[in-house]
């Protein structure tokens, strides 16, 4: 499944300062890596929970604790699916579709 994932608010520093990543997540790939989270159902659906796990393994290069806490994102990170807060689409259970755009952005406090 082709997805675009983006990092902002400083989270890009966890992946070599690259903000936009065009990725291809194959549920089968995940299985080979031993992650049972990758296949969410018989229908090969990819959920945001699966994606988070894939991103931590394949995209995040350092300090994963700045990205995740438990099986969700750390406090202070907004997740946007096609420019909408993931709370509106089911949070970790959000089912992703081909060409979806997922943004992980840390809230800023500066001024």
């Amino acid at each position: 499944m082709q997805l675009t994932i983006e990092f902002g608010g400083g989270l890009e520093l966890l992946c070599d300062s690259v903000k936009i990543h065009n990725i291809n997540v194959d549920p089968q790939d995940g299985e080979k890596q031993g992650s049972i989270d990758i296949i969410s159902s018989f229908f090969n659906q990819l959920t945001l929970k699966n994606l988070l796990s894939w991103v931590r393994t394949n995209v995040i290069k350092e300090r994963p604790e700045m990205f995740m806490k438990g099986d969700s994102v750390r406090p202070g990170v907004l997740v946007l699916v096609n420019d909408a807060d993931w709370e509106l689409s089911g949070q970790l259970d959000t089912v992703l579709e081909e060409k979806d755009n997922v943004v992980f952005i840390s809230t800023l406090h500066g001024g």
């Binding site: 902002g8 608010g9 400083g10 903000k19 604790e65 700045m66 750390r74 406090p75 202070g76 990170v77 907004l78 946007l80 420019d83 909408a84 807060d85 709370e87 509106l88 943004v103 952005i105 840390s106 809230t107 800023l108 406090h109 500066g110 001024g111």
Partner: protein
């Protein structure tokens, strides 16, 4: 167009003529602005342009809260302050600048740190609050104070080459705690002093905060409630984001929230965020 002057003096009609000519703003929008009051907390990178535009546009009364003094390394982005004010109070500097562009607007100086002990009294005197601070505990404290007093909160932030903007606690929309119930780890909270900021980025966000405050105060347009603007200055792109609604579980504004004036006074925001104010 200018037939019904709605109590505007001839000088005001002339000064604000570009607003009065606007069919969607007009005499009513201007009259609403002139009757309104806006509190800007922080006279730094965000507060500088926000204050100048709020003063210029004719907000009736503007309050400024800050306890800092002007330093040379502020001037790269805090355009309301001049070299002549280095070493002097930011509030005094900003107030003088606002008065010099619009002597008909009332400017109130709050030369003090914004704390739970003075927050309720200060905020209660204004219609709209602009959060132009630079740290996590202030953002939670300002949010909670606005929830307790039912004030709309125009929140902006900038760091590095990015900016964020939204309006909290307005018209049934979410508050800051609805979005961020748990504070981030302290090492995720960078200030401009630590990580730097391109000066014009808080400039853009501060102007947009003035715009949102003007929309709320004039009752013109659709304020950014339940929505957020994200600016990536490197690419020059904005992202228009749809946010969650008010959270029923929110500890500040939810259906079972226990936030009151007293719990607000007793809350330790520095301990909560593990960050000094």
């Amino acid at each position: 167009n200018l037939g019904n002057s709605n109590g505007l003096s001839p000088d005001m009609i002339y000064r604000y003529s570009r607003h009065l000519l606007l069919p969607s703003f007009g005499v009513q929008g201007q009259a609403n602005l002139l009757k309104s009051s806006v509190l800007v907390i922080g006279a730094g990178g965000l507060g500088s342009p926000a204050l100048l535009y709020l003063a210029a546009c004719g907000v009736g009364r503007i309050g400024i809260v800050d306890h800092d003094i002007v330093e040379l390394n502020n001037l790269q982005r805090q355009i309301i302050h001049t070299e002549a004010y280095i070493g002097k109070s930011k509030v005094e500097s900003a107030a003088d600048a606002c008065r010099s562009i619009n002597s008909s607007t009332q400017i109130v100086e709050h030369k003090e740190a914004f704390r739970t002990s003075n927050a309720l009294e200060i905020v209660s005197k204004y219609d709209v609050v602009v959060d132009a601070t630079d740290n996590a505990p202030s953002r939670y404290m300002i949010n909670d104070c606005c929830v307790v007093l039912g004030k709309p909160l125009v929140s902006g932030a900038a760091l590095g080459l990015e900016g964020q903007l939204t309006v909290y606690n307005y018209n049934g929309g979410p508050c800051y705690r609805c979005l961020f119930p748990t504070p981030p780890p302290t090492n995720a909270c960078q200030r401009c002093a630590d990580s730097g900021v391109l000066g014009v980025v808080p400039g853009v966000i501060g102007c947009l905060q003035a715009l949102e405050a003007i929309k709320v105060a004039s009752l013109v347009g659709e304020p950014l409630s339940g929505r957020m603007l994200l600016l990536d200055a490197v690419s020059g792109r904005f992202r228009n984001v749809k946010l969650r609604g008010r959270s029923l579980q929110c500890e500040a504004c939810g259906d079972h929230a226990v936030l009151t004036r007293q719990t607000f006074l007793d809350f330790d925001y520095e301990k909560f965020t593990q960050t000094p104010l």
